[in-house]
């Protein structure tokens, strides 16, 4: 598989105490385990089964994902923010790999 590259998007402007929209995307095939190859064999499942987002060490969202999530999983949610801080995003692959991304913000 090609290199996994998370992408994060935060609003350009916000103020302390706002509930901001956080958009995340990561490139991943999300092989559902439902497909068959040309020989008729089931292609084993390999998905991102869990995604978490923390803000300065406090949980924002903890998601359990299934094979019904589209390839390159896109997750959009809201977080209540201080004026400045850092998000830590973590994706957990079926194969044991863990991908993380950090996004700092300072709206002061």
């Amino acid at each position: 598989m090609t290199e996994v590259r998370p992408r994060i998007r935060l609003p350009r402007r916000a103020s302390a105490g706002d509930s901001i929209v956080v958009k995340t995307l990561i490139n991943h095939t999300m092989e559902s385990g439902q497909r068959r190859n040309s020989a008729g064999e089931t292609i084993p499942r390999q998905i991102i089964n869990r995604f978490t987002c923390e803000l300065d060490g406090v949980m924002v969202i903890d998601a359990a994902l299934e094979g019904a999530i589209s390839a390159n999983p896109y997750i959009e949610f809201e977080a209540t923010i201080p004026a400045a801080g850092a998000f830590v995003f973590t994706w957990y692959d079926d194969n044991g790999d863990v991908y993380t991304a950090t996004e700092e913000f300072d709206y002061a």
Binding site: M59, V60, I61, A63, I69, P73, I75, T80
Partner: protein
């Protein structure tokens, strides 16, 4: 104790079930099981969850959906007509803003998408929306 009214209701329910095609019923049962597992057997109230999905999805591989429920601590999404009914389960932490989630999901065929929200008082709310799928998203 079974009252006359209960008996009538059971009869009506049974005939409604009997009218559904067999395959749909099996998936619906799997979806109901998955929902019951999420709610711990609590019967969810109808409504109180906003579920935005396209009426018609041309490509079942990537169907955008949004779910929000005021005051929800957890949201779970189910697809009653997919090979497996679970789609995702989202738990909101102390730093979450509004209880809302948007994602893109796969739909194998035309079916109901169901969103269930767990509220702060441990009650559950549920909304279902039918999405018509032109090209299924489960691969071949």
């Amino acid at each position: 104790m079974l009252t006359r009214r209960d008996t009538l209701a059971i009869g009506l329910g049974a005939s409604a079930v009997a009218l559904l095609p067999a395959t749909v019923y099996a998936d619906e049962a799997a979806a109901q099981d998955a929902i019951a597992e999420f709610t711990g057997g609590v019967e969810p109230m109808d409504g109180g969850v906003n579920l935005t999905a396209p009426e018609i999805a041309e490509n079942g591989n990537t169907v955008p959906i949004s779910v929000s429920a005021d005051g929800a601590t957890e949201i779970a999404i189910f697809a009653a007509g997919n090979p497996t009914p679970r789609v995702g389960r989202y738990t909101f932490g102390p730093a979450a803003g509004a209880s809302t989630i948007s994602t893109r999901m796969r739909l194998g065929r035309t079916q109901d998408v169901i969103a269930v929200a767990k509220m702060a008082d441990d009650s559950f709310a549920m909304t279902r929306v039918e999405v018509k799928v032109t090209i299924g998203g489960c691969g071949g």
